[in-house]
Amino acid sequence: MTRRYVLVAIISDHEVTEEQFGSALTDAVRKNFGDIGFGRISPKLIRFDPTKSMAIVACKREMVRELEAGIALISDCGELPVTPLVVQVSGTIKGLKRKRKG
């Protein structure tokens, strides 16, 4: 299964934990696309850096637009207001880092 990796910057006045973001992501995708959509998108939180407030989320390649839309619809993480911004999309985690540096 070919995947796409999405780098997400989480902007918030409060500190967001990996569990809070992971659960907000799952809820947003499930609420907006349903259980079948969730299965087709298969979002997975790969990495989370609380110091930089960045996360890497993987999904099926052909469903990357749906994942981006799902991320856009996250408005809070555990009742903390957040702004999740998709910064980069790449086919590999290494590619994400390279694009970010370049």
Partner: protein
């Protein structure tokens, strides 16, 4: 970080010019170009025409909120209107094929109106229908964040992704966050140039031999 290079600001009409310059400079200092837009929310046809006469030249973009059929017909037909957007709370009045046929400017959809908790799931049905009509009539579509606070800002790619998920053609969605708004601003800047008479007619300085 959000991926924007230019920002469209909606400011109150009575704001002093020096305050406008101050706001523009604050954005420019952070590497963002600013253009001014005015959102007209008129209750009648006459009020809309009066507002267009009064404000058209002072703003880069004029958007009209269509809350009734009469206002929508004038807004869609008038070349001075750049964007039209529809009130999703008003269930009695929607964007139709008839309005799409009249539309001279572009249809606008802002993300803030569909953020969760704002209006419920029916909003998706309403926007999806708008996009179906836009696809069918090959309308110009502009997508904006519509953010009035920082939590509502999303990157352009997210706005485009959301629109294409709701049925807008992917190419139109990507143009809606990039080339389309820019071309509207550029066209208006050209029209406001004193040498411009009308489309295709321009004053050119005489060549002296």
């Amino acid at each position: 970080m959000a991926g924007y290079s230019t920002v469209g600001l909606t400011l109150p009409t009575g704001l002093f010019q020096d305050r406008v310059v101050e706001i523009r400079n604050a954005f420019r200092d952070n590497g963002l170009d600013v253009f001014l837009r005015l959102d007209l929310s008129s209750r009648s046809r006459e009020e809309l025409l009066r507002s267009l006469r009064r404000f058209r030249n002072g703003y880069d973009i004029i958007a009209v909120k269509c809350s009734s059929a009469r206002v929508a017909h004038v807004a869609c037909r008038d070349r001075r209107v750049d964007l039209v957007f529809f009130d999703h709370e008003n269930l009695n009045f929607r964007f139709t094929h008839a309005l799409a046929n009249l539309l001279q400017g572009a249809l606008e959809m802002n993300l803030a109106s569909i953020m969760p908790g704002n209006l419920g799931p029916n909003i998706y049905v309403s926007i999806s229908k708008q996009f179906d009509i836009a696809n069918e009539h090959r309308l110009k579509v502009v997508l904006s964040s519509g953010a009035d606070r920082s939590e509502l800002i999303r990157s352009p790619i997210q706005v485009a992704a959301l629109a294409s998920t709701l049925g807008l053609q992917e190419r139109t969605a990507l143009e809606g966050v990039s080339s389309m708004p820019l071309s509207i601003v550029e066209n208006n800047a050209r029209k406001r140039n004193p040498t411009h008479i009308e489309d295709g007619v321009q004053i050119v300085p005489a060549r002296v031999k």
